[in-house]
Structures are given as C-alpha cells and as structure tokens.
Symmetry: C2
Subunit: 599 residues, 2 copies
C-alpha cells in the first residue's frame, strides 16, 4: 500500500531533480551524507509509515481519545507507531551527531515528515508538536532548561505542546488573559485557560511539556505584554527526574470533525493556585519567540495539508484505474466491455487537477524547507540573509495554498470514488474531514492573507518581493530556452508583472487607508499562491523536459505526466488570476461597505 | 431558532417580489389561494420544522440507523417529525382537493420543502423519496396500481424508494443486471442487487414501495432494455391490506460521512426466487419514465444543497454578530473593546459570498419550480411548451450549481466559526458533511455537465438556449432602466453573448469529435451556472431596487443587502467565466490527452 501513501518516484524527482537537494552534501554539516543516505531515510520513513502509521489511521478516527476522569487514553497503535518513529531517530533527525542526531538537512527531515503525514496525519502530530516545542526551547531556553526539557523531548521521554489560544481571544492573541505572577523564587504562578490545545493530554510519554503564552501583570497591553513559559504536566527536578504533578487540569476534550486521533483539549492552569511555570528568555518577548518558530510550524501545516491531499489523490488514482464503468464516447455499443473510469476525460480532469495541487504544493513546501536549510547552513552570508527574507514572504502562501487546494484534492477524491467515496467503508471521506482543519489552525487563511499583504510584501521597502521576482526570473529564463515551456515561461512573467503592479496599487491604497488596502487580502493571497505555484510547476516542468530526452518506459511516462500537470496548471489555474487581479486593481469595496444589518 | 433555519423575509421576497408567485392565484386551479394562504403554508412549515425537525438533526447524525438482523431502527424523533409533516398535509400539498390535497402550486410546495430541508435534510428525505415515488406512479401506473400504492403513499401509510444504482454499474445505468422474468400471471420475478438505496429500510411506515429498474430477458441491450417495476416490501392485496413479506432482503447498511439520518441500503431482490414485481407501464420504457421524474428530483437535490448551505450561512451570520474578537484596523489601541467579527471585512466577504450562493441558488430553484407550474397549469399552450424546454435546459444547472457553491457556503460557515466550527460541539461541521453528498447523488456533477453540453444545449437545434436568451434579455432590459443596475445588466448581456459563442464552438467541435467537444464539459457547466445565477441576481436586484424607493428600517436594510449581494456576485463571481470561456474556446485538450500511465 506504500504506493497510496506517496509516490516515491515523485519525492525523488522533487528532491534531487527539481530542487537539487544533493548539492547540500557539499556543505560541511552534511558531508557524511549522500543522495543514497537521503533516500535511505525516505525509505525508512516509508517502511515505518506503511507498517505502523497507515494501518491505524481509520481506527484512530473511529476511536478518538477518551477521558475517564483520570487519564486520556488513545488506542495503543499510536504509541507503537511513535515508538518506531522515535527508535528510527526521526525525532532528532536534524540534530547534531553529538546530540544523538542524524544531521539531516531540514529539507530531508520535512520530506520524511511528509511521508508520515500522508500515512497518518493525526498520529504524527504528536511528534511534530514535540519537535516544535523542542526547537523553540533550543532557540530561547536557558542551558538548564535545555538540559531538563529538550534532551527528554528529543528522546521522546517527554512530549510537548504549544498553548496559545484562549476561549475569549482566538486569533487575537493580544487579548489573552492567562496570568503569570512571580512566585519569588524565579518561577511564576500560572492561572488561566487554553483552548484547542492539540496533544494537551495523552498517555504517550512520561511527561508533557506545555509552552504557554501568558501575561506578567504590569507589562504592556496587547501583544507586547506576552511572555512564554514552560509549564510541565509533572514538575521536573534538576536531575531530570519527575516531581509532583503540576496544577494543570484537563477541563475537557473537544470532539472534532476530523483529525480525531490527535487529542484536542481545554486546559486549565492553576485552579488550585499551584501551577508553576518557568519563563523562557526575557519577559514580554513571548510573541516574538513564537514568531521565530512560526515559519517552520506553518510549513508543517502546509505540508500536512499537501500530504493528506496527496494520499487522497493516490487513492483516487488507484480506484480510477481499477473501477470499470461506462464506455468511451467513441463506442456506442452498449455491449462493449466497460472501461476503467480513468479513461473518462472528466475523471482525468479531476485527477490532473489533484496532481497539480498536491505535487505543486509539495514542491512549494520542499522549496521552503530548502530556504530554511539555506538560512541555516549556506556558506554565503548573502544567501543566508536572502533565504530568510524569501522564507518570511512565502510562509503565508506555503501555509494557505495547500490548505485550500489540497483540501480540494481530498474532495475530488470523493468525487472520483462516487457514492463509495461518501461512505466510511472507504478511506477518502476521512481524508476530506481531516484536511478541513488546515485552513483554520496555525493562523486561519484570513490571518495569512493579512500577514502577506499587510506585512510581508511591504516590509523593508518591498525587498522580499523583489528577491522573489529575481528568483522567478532565473527560472523563467531557463524555461524560455525549452521549446515546450516557452509559452508558460512567458505567461508566468506576465502574471508576475501584473501581480507586482497590483501590489504597488494596494500598498499605496493601504498607506492612505489600511482597511481599504487590506479589505480584499484573501483574494490577493489566492492570486499570489497561484502565481507562486505556477512557478513551482515551471521549475518541475523544466527539470522534466530536460530529463525526458533519453528517458524510457516508466521514467518517460513520469516526465510526460509532469509536463502535462505543468501545462494543466498554466492553462486551467493560473488564468484565474486575471479576474482576481482586476478586482484587486479596482479596489473593489463591496465587502468593505456591506453593513452587518444588511445581511 | 427559526431565524437560523431560513430567512422568512427572504422567502417572502423571492416568492412574491422577485418571482410574482402571487399571480398564480389567477389560474383556476389555485383560485382559492392567496398570498396569505401561501405564506400560511410557509409558516406552518416553519413551525413544524422548528419544533419537530431541527431539534433532532444532530441526534440523528450521532445515532445513525442500525440493523439488528430483523429490522432497521431509527431514533423515534424521525417518525414524530414525519407524522407532524404528514398530519399538516405536506405529503399531498400539490394534489387535488378531491384527493385530500391542498392544490398548492409546485413553487409553494418546493418553498415549504426548502424549510424542512434546512431544518433537517436527512429526515425530510424519507418524505421526498415517497413523493417522487408517488409522482412516478401517478404518471405511469395503472389505475389499480394507483389505488393500491399511490393512495397509501400520499397518506404516509406506505413510504417509497427509487432503486436504480447497482454495484457494478453506478452511473452507467445501461449496465444494470437486475432481472425481471415473467411469472406467467402478469407479474415478474425480480432478482438482483441495488446499492445506495436511500430509505431502503426503516420502521417509519407499514410498508415500503421500491421502484426498481430491471431488465426483462430478451429485451434490447443497454438503456433501451430497462423496465420499471413496483416491488413492495410486503405484498399488497387488491383491497390494500398487506400480504406476505416479499423476497426483498436488506443485505447491508452503508455508513456515510453525512446525511446519516437517512438509511442507505444494499438491497437484495429474489434471493429465494420469490420476489414479485409489477411492471409499470410498457416494458423497456423504464429509463424514459425515470427521466420524466428527473427534473423534479434534481430540483429537489439542488434545493436540498441550497438549504443546507442556507442554514450554514445563517448560523455563521449569527455567530459572527455575537462573537467578539480583535479590533478594527482603524483602532490601534489594544485596550479598546473587541468588536464582533462581522465587523472584519474578510468575515463579511465570507458571509456575502455565502449569501450570494444560497440566495442565488434558492432563486434558481424557485424559478425552476415555477417553470414546473407553468408547464402544468399555464393557460397558454405556448407558455406551457416553453416552460418545459427551459426547465429541461436548466435542470443540470439547478442540480449542480448548489451542489458546488452551497457546499462552499457550508465550508465558509466552518471558517467563520474558526476552531469551534471544526468541532462537533457546533452544528456547522455536520452541515458540511451532509452537503457533500449533493455533487454525487441523482447524477454526479460530471454527469450533469454531459447532460447540459452533450444534450440540452444542442437539442432541437438549440431552441432551448435561444429561449433562455430571450428570457434573460427581458430581465436585462428591465434592469438597464435602473441606474444602480445598468452596469450589471450590460455585464450579463456580454457574458451571455460570450457563452453563446462558446456554445456554438463546442457544438461544432462535438459534431466532428464528440469526445473532444465534451472533454471540458464540467467547465462549461460551471460557467453556465455562473451566468444563470448572475441572471437570478439581476432579477433580485431589480425587485430590490424598485422596492427600496420608499422602504424604511429593516425593509430598507434588507433591500440594500440584496443589492450588495447582487453587486458581489457580478464583481466577484461572474468575472471568473472569462478564463473559463477562454479555455473552452481554445478547445484545450490537456485533460483529454493525459494518458493514464503518466499519472
């Protein structure tokens, strides 16, 4: 069933033909690696995903976490899968050898994560949250905190969470009311409630380390008064042994439409006034610290959305190849044999659309992961700096494009299956339910749109968008030299110019009236995403066109498929930006001027 | 909670201001009615929907039908709701007075059905299927069949199903293998399996009347050899009393993603060789008979999709008005009070999009229902004939536009609720799951696209599309006289001309190569739908603009909302047809030429 988790050939192509991940081995940090060790990691991930993750995906959906008043219980397969994942070293994949890590590039670690997410997105979430937690503490924790927490997070002895959201605040983090009062011994007394905390309670590890945003009384109002605290479920002694239970109570479990294997909790801190938290770094720096992690966290969500869409697509593809129904329009004979539905043009349309979304989305996530690697390990300072700028710019797109289009791939998979796809006897309806979370968590698509248009494209005098334009121009130039891609190259250039012009127009409008300039930010985000993913397809098209010459058999088929999907994206998807950009250019105020009383 | 089921003011506007349903009372059949009696029926529906249907919508989702080996059991609230519905006369709403009916126009009956569908789509399905069944038997059954079946279907003593689909045939009805062998006494022995039969078994009525498509051996192959049979669960004696159980076995229940309150069954006919069926009408006319009912059945599905989207939208609207979060961009003070999220432009965008989809979809369904009335009861033969032609043309759009855009309204409702919307503690996630069935049943959207482009627009030398153009032109002319709508009127004229030109191009291409001409039929259907619903919005805009003059308070707000939604649809939705029509015009063959091996 591995072939329904992810197309290994595609991963190989994207990593080593389109993205040249192999070149990373020339950097000292990755010198012991090779394309073979990289693919070895992927193959290990595929084996474990296939044997331990995919088999309980449905079972975890049907048996969501329960709370008996004492403990949250999960089905045992979740722990078995995460034990195998941990034993294979994936928790510390990118860490230094002397920390017990594999020193894999982030690109490769994300590619491995992609495999697990496709197999079982709600089980891998426990590990992803633990990693995000460990990364944040690695960046900002004190040496003692790293010793007492990060070490154990990386071995999986402790698991972690990120506890940001509160019932009354939602996306408006400045309005959180969780309080952290100094206890006089350097620690803080935490009181307050956090909602929708994924993996907030479970029986998978000895301890759970919550990273909690809270306000120290007397600090500045709004987001500037937010600080970050470590709040373990069980207190941790200096030597790493566990102390008394901290005053953290599970106040409730949420029952979600999908993603059911991941417990979603309402946590109550300090009900008895005995919840101890440790400040991370300086006071009032909590949001900045969180934002430091946001790029990777949002790549994570984007990648999760891609991979649920990806496995949806592969399931639909297999089904379409096997399911006979109807006949070609050329055969009017009702007694002729039925053909597999993949032969019907409209089914191919659905599959090709899905392929273009999920493989385009994967290319984007891997490109972003590569930017993280460049930011961290490029030998050239200029490259490091530029990678960070580009990554900041692309992050909202990396998060939101898959959360829109790869959910659509899950919906199309249901459509390909027809009535069967709507039943719980087949897996695709779960993918659709699971994937629908992604436009919501880690910043809704609306929040991403404001981040992109209100902050990222205008930051630093528009330097980021200029850098992006230059990166695109290089690929456009390369593609222009290939006969089969000349038209697409020119279309991308035109779309980019139009997008830049609209960007200037919106920036000017926003300078006069922020609300007017940002009113249609969601349309801008969508158009931006379509242009960026067209670029990702042009890059893939270029790699495929070059390799096609001389390729045979399944390899040639694979490259022809890439070229078809590239063509599909340029002919069917990119042209939609025309109407979007015209709407933006007109500063349409239909939504802005609609009064609540008129609904 | 009635206000979250449907906006009564909108129903009133659509029926009596935009559509002039009141004029039907000048027809002899409806002479005893008035706008007041019509609205009285709506109010009765609203009361029953509110008291008996909406309250168990979630419970039915959580307690889907079970089978204990003997009987299928539903929660008792389903029967209570349907009893109230039946007692109020809705089962025979359109029937003659002397049949115990109310002689309501189909338009009004559909408007009432809309209310029930919004409140609980899976409970009303039992009644809708029973009505469809009774209508088919009324049209084609013998006097004896009408006596023994229709009478009891209309009182609700019997319930009905439509049993078309088979496991190996799906959308390809010509490939069904259920067999009907003459038993020598005028009846037939039925053998075969039917899948996804909604309401195929339950404990709601004394008997269940299956209408089964089957083939009489020796008939023509394919769809031309299909006949229609009455196959009751319990045999019915001449005097209407019940005889022995027929040989119809429940072979399984399907477990669906949504629409869970409606049992979905696998039925096995004639396992013991004792399944008795009665032929309806002539042999080999089964498909034509079914098609006779298809228009109304597909309006029913479209309307169901609209109304689940409609209630989704109303829930989101209420939530957006109540939920405080964040501040206006004009207020930078983090200590200012939070504002209700409906004040954020992006939330208004989601609500306005939803409003435009669901109210536009409702207008379309009611317009189609009015065509049924005109076809049945217009005093002018020309009007009757034209109504039928227009209805045939519009049916695929009436079915598919809501199945795409009103599912999107359900998705947007989740997005407005944010994290809460994704939990089962709030109702919108169920609406999303329920609504996802609609692009699948009663002919998938792909099938509708082939029906529209491959059959309807070319039938009779394109007469239908000419009629539609004329109907639109009348409304365009009226709107052109209104300053606020002049631009929209001209845009609709332009879009229609472009659509006609593309239609000719595709017809010409299809005449040469059917597969090429129809390859992108789904895009054509989408563009067609956007143009038609723009027209529906222009009609509503016209009625609103005229009424606005002199309107005050909530009435004025209501009309301004209609004008805003009209403007939204023309500025945000209709322009998408530009890229679609260009793609169609180019006869793009990307999907057609994609080879299965390339995926």
């Amino acid at each position: 069933m591995k072939s329904r988790i992810v197309n290994r050939r595609d991963l190989q192509f994207q990593l080593f033909e389109a993205l040249d991940t192999g070149s990373l081995t020339s950097r000292p940090r990755f010198a012991d690696h090779s394309v073979e060790t990289f693919m070895g990691a992927i193959d290990t991930a595929l084996d474990i995903a296939d044997e331990k993750f995919a088999p309980h995906n449905r079972k975890a959906d049907e048996n969501e976490p329960t709370f008996d008043g004492q403990r949250v219980k999960l089905i045992p397969e979740v722990k078995e899968a995460l034990d195998a994942y941990r034993a294979a070293g994936f928790l510390s994949a990118v860490r230094d050898y002397d920390e017990g890590g594999m020193q894999l590039p982030v690109t490769m670690a994300q590619a491995c994560r992609a495999v697990f997410a496709a197999a079982n997105v709600s089980t891998i979430a426990y590990a992803s949250l633990t990693l995000a937690n460990a990364n944040l503490l690695t960046a900002f924790g004190s040496p003692g905190q790293k010793q007492r927490y990060v070490t154990h997070l990386l071995t999986g002895r402790f698991f972690g969470t990120m506890a940001l959201t509160e019932p009354q605040a939602g996306s408006s983090l400045g309005d959180i009311t969780t309080k952290a009062t100094p206890r006089g011994d350097g620690t803080y007394a935490i009181t307050g409630s956090k909602i929708f905390i994924s993996a907030g309670d479970h029986d998978l590890a000895e301890n759970i380390v919550h990273l909690v945003l809270a306000k120290i009384p007397g600090g500045p109002p709004g987001v500037k008064g937010i600080s970050l605290f470590i709040v373990p479920k069980l207190l941790v002694n200096q030597d790493g042994t566990l102390g008394r239970p901290n005053d953290v109570a599970l106040a409730g479990l949420f029952h979600k439409m999908g993603y059911r294997g991941t417990s979603s909790t309402l946590l109550s801190f300090g009900e008895r006034g005995e919840c101890v938290g440790e400040l991370v770094g300086e006071p009032h720096r909590g949001l900045a610290q969180m934002f430091h992690m946001m790029n990777e966290a949002r790549i994570g969500v984007g990648l999760g959305a891609v991979m649920v869409g990806y496995t949806s697509y592969l399931h639909a593809l297999d089904y379409a190849r096997e399911r006979p129904q109807g006949r070609s329009m050329k055969t009017r004979d009702p007694q002729a044999r039925q053909i597999p539905i993949v032969e019907h043009p409209d089914v191919r349309r659905m599959l090709l659309a899905s392929k273009s979304y999920v493989e385009g989305g994967l290319a984007l996530c891997l490109y972003a992961a590569r930017l993280v690697d460049d930011q961290n390990t490029s030998p050239e300072e200029e490259v490091r700096r530029e990678a960070k700028v580009l990554l900041d710019l692309l992050t909202p797109v990396v998060k939101s494009f898959p959360a829109q289009y790869c959910v659509e791939a899950s919906s199309l998979a249901i459509q390909v299956y027809g009535g069967y796809g709507y039943t719980r006897e087949y897996p695709v309806e779960q993918f659709y339910r699971d994937n629908r979370l992604n436009p919501i968590h880690e910043g809704t698509s609306g929040i991403q749109a404001l981040d992109l248009l209100g902050r990222k494209v205008t930051a630093d005098g528009g330097r980021a968008i200029e850098l992006l334009g230059r990166a695109m121009a290089r690929d456009v130039a390369a593609a222009s030299g290939i006969e089969a891609l000349r038209a697409q190259a020119s279309e991308l250039r035109g779309a980019w110019d139009a997008l830049r012009s609209v960007t200037r127009r919106l920036a000017a409008a926003g300078a006069e009236d922020a609300e007017r300039g940002l009113a249609n930010a969601s349309v801008y985000l969508d158009a931006f995403g379509l242009v960026v993913v067209s670029w990702m397809w042009l890059r893939q098209g270029t790699a495929a066109a070059r390799a096609l010459d001389g390729a045979k058999g399944p390899d040639a088929d694979f490259y022809l498929g890439k070229l078809s999907a590239c063509r599909y994206f340029f002919r069917w998807e990119l042209p939609r930006t025309g109407a979007q950009l015209a709407l933006l250019e007109s500063l349409d105020d239909t939504c802005l001027t609609m009064k609540p009383a008129w609904f």
